[in-house]
Symmetry: C2
Subunit: 258 residues, 2 copies
C-alpha cells in the first residue's frame, strides 16, 4: 500500500509533487498558510485534505515532505521533532521526513540533532522561473535528477527513494556538503550572474534603452532573473560560504579570455 | 530588378543570407577561401556562382556583403577600395558595401577613410552556437532586428535596407558608437560570462564532477560557451574599451544582492 504523505508548502515544487503522486495513487494531505494556495490545491483534486493546520495535515501521515521556503522548512522540522517528543514512537516507527530545499547542510545538521525525526534530505533539480501552486504540473520532475542525502534510516531512504521514482525523477545520492558545493557553482552562482547581467544593462543609459535588441543568448541568460528574489536570498544566505568560493572561481575565470 | 549581390564569407550568417535572398529571386555570387564552404554553398543551389576568387565573385555585382570574420572584413574592405581606385566610377555609381560584423566603429571608421566605397554598416541580431555554412538556414533572420548604421549615401541605405527586409529581418538604425556600447552589454559581456560560468565549474573538482546535475538554467546560460573562441576573440578585441565598461558594470552588479 502507498504511504500517506503530508506535503508542507504548496508552491511550485510541493504542488508539482502532489500532482505527480496523486496520479500514482498516493493519499495526500497539503498544508500551507496561504488561503490562495489552499484554494488552488483544493481545485487540483490532488489532495485528500488541504488545511492551514500542520496538526490536521499530519494526522495519519507516515511521511512528511517539507516544501516550504528554506527557513520555514527549518522551523517546521523543529516543530515536527517537538511533536514527536510529546508522542514518543518506537525508533523504528519515527516519522519519516524529507525536504526539497536548495541547500542541504543546514537542514541535515539540524535533523541530525533531532532524535524524533528520521530525515532524508532531498533536492529535485527541476524548476522554472514562475512560482506558486498555479505554476505546478505533474511532469515537472520527469527524468530530472533528484538529489538525496545518505542520511536517516535505511527504511526512510527506501521509502523516500520510492516517492522520488514515483514522481518521475531520477534519484542521485550526494552528501550535503558535496551538494552545497556543486549547487553553489551550478545553481546559486548562475542566479547571481543572471541578476547582474540584467542589472548592468538596466543601469547603463545606452544599453538599457536597447534591451529590445538583445539576442536569444541574452534572453536565455537572464530568464531566471525573474525568479523570486526573497526566496533566493534565503537560499543564498544558507550557502554563503560555498557561494563565495564559486564567486571567486567565476571572477578568476571571467578575466582570462581577455 | 533585384541587384546582383556578392557575399564574401560563407559561414552561418553569409550562408543564411544567401538562402533567404535566393528565395526572393536575387542573383548571388559567393566567395570563400574554404573548399568545404564552397562545396556546401554549391550544393545549396542558392548561388549563381561560388568561387575562391574575390575578383570573379565581384564581376557584375552591384552590392557586396562582407560576412567574413571581423578582421578579414576589414582587409576585404581595403581591397575593394583599392580595386575601386583602379577602376574609377562616378560617385553616384560607387560600389555599395555592407557587412555583418559584431563591432561597428572599427569598420565604419575604415570605410569613412576610403572614398571608393559606399558603405552601410550592418549587424543582424541573430545567431546560434553552431557555425559554418552547414548550420545556415533561410529563416535565421526572420523577425530579428538587423542594425544598420546611418552611413553611406541615401541610395546605399535604401538598397541595403531592402536586402535586410528581403532577408526577413527588421532594420533598426543605430550609430556605430551606440551599437558597440549596447552590444558590449547585450552580447559581448554575456559571451564572457557564459565561458566563465562553464570554466569555473570545470576547474572545481567537486562541481566539475557533477556537471550532469545542472538544471535547465545553467544549460541555457552556458549554451553559447560552445561558440567559436577564435572568432569571438576578434570581436571582443575590436570592442575592448566598451567591453571593459560593461565588465565594470557587471562586476559592480554582481556583488549587490549579497
Amino acid at each position: 500500500m502507498k504511504p500517506k504523505v503530508a506535503i508542507f508548502g504548496l508552491g511550485l515544487v510541493g504542488g508539482s509533487l502532489a500532482r505527480a503522486l496523486a496520479r500514482r495513487g498516493y493519499s495526500l494531505s497539503g498544508v500551507d498558510p496561504s488561503a490562495a494556495a489552499l484554494a488552488a490545491a483544493r481545485r487540483s483534486r490532488a489532495f485528500a485534505l488541504v488545511t492551514r493546520s500542520p496538526e490536521r495535515g499530519l494526522a495519519g501521515a507516515n511521511i512528511v515532505v517539507l516544501a516550504a521556503p528554506p527557513r520555514a522548512n527549518l522551523a517546521l522540522l523543529r516543530r515536527l521533532a517537538r511533536r514527536a517528543r510529546g508522542a514518543p514512537r518506537q525508533r523504528s516507527r519515527r516519522l519519516i521526513v524529507t525536504d526539497v530545499s536548495s541547500v542541504k547542510r543546514s537542514i541535515c545538521a539540524l535533523a541530525a540533532s533531532l532524535p524524533g525525526v528520521d530525515f532524508v534530505g532531498g533536492h529535485p533539480m527541476a524548476g522554472r522561473e514562475r512560482s506558486g501552486f498555479g505554476a505546478s504540473h505533474a511532469s515537472l520532475f520527469r527524468g530530472r535528477p533528484w538529489i538525496l542525502t545518505p542520511t536517516g534510516s535505511r527504511r526512510a531512504r527506501r521509502v523516500i527513494r520510492r516517492i522520488v521514482l514515483d514522481a518521475g525523477a531520477r534519484p542521485v545520492a550526494l552528501s550535503a556538503a558535496e551538494h552545497d558545493r556543486a549547487m553553489a557553482f551550478l545553481s546559486h552562482l548562475p542566479q547571481l550572474v543572471s541578476w547582474a547581467l540584467l542589472d548592468a544593462v538596466r543601469r547603463d543609459a545606452v544599453a538599457g534603452a536597447r534591451l529590445s535588441l538583445a539576442g536569444p543568448a541574452f534572453v536565455d541568460m537572464t530568464r531566471i532573473a525573474k525568479s523570486p528574489r526573497r526566496l533566493w536570498r534565503e537560499i543564498l544566505g544558507q550557502n554563503r560560504d560555498e557561494l563565495k568560493r564559486a564567486l571567486r572561481a567565476f571572477r578568476a575565470a571571467l578575466i582570462s579570455p581577455l
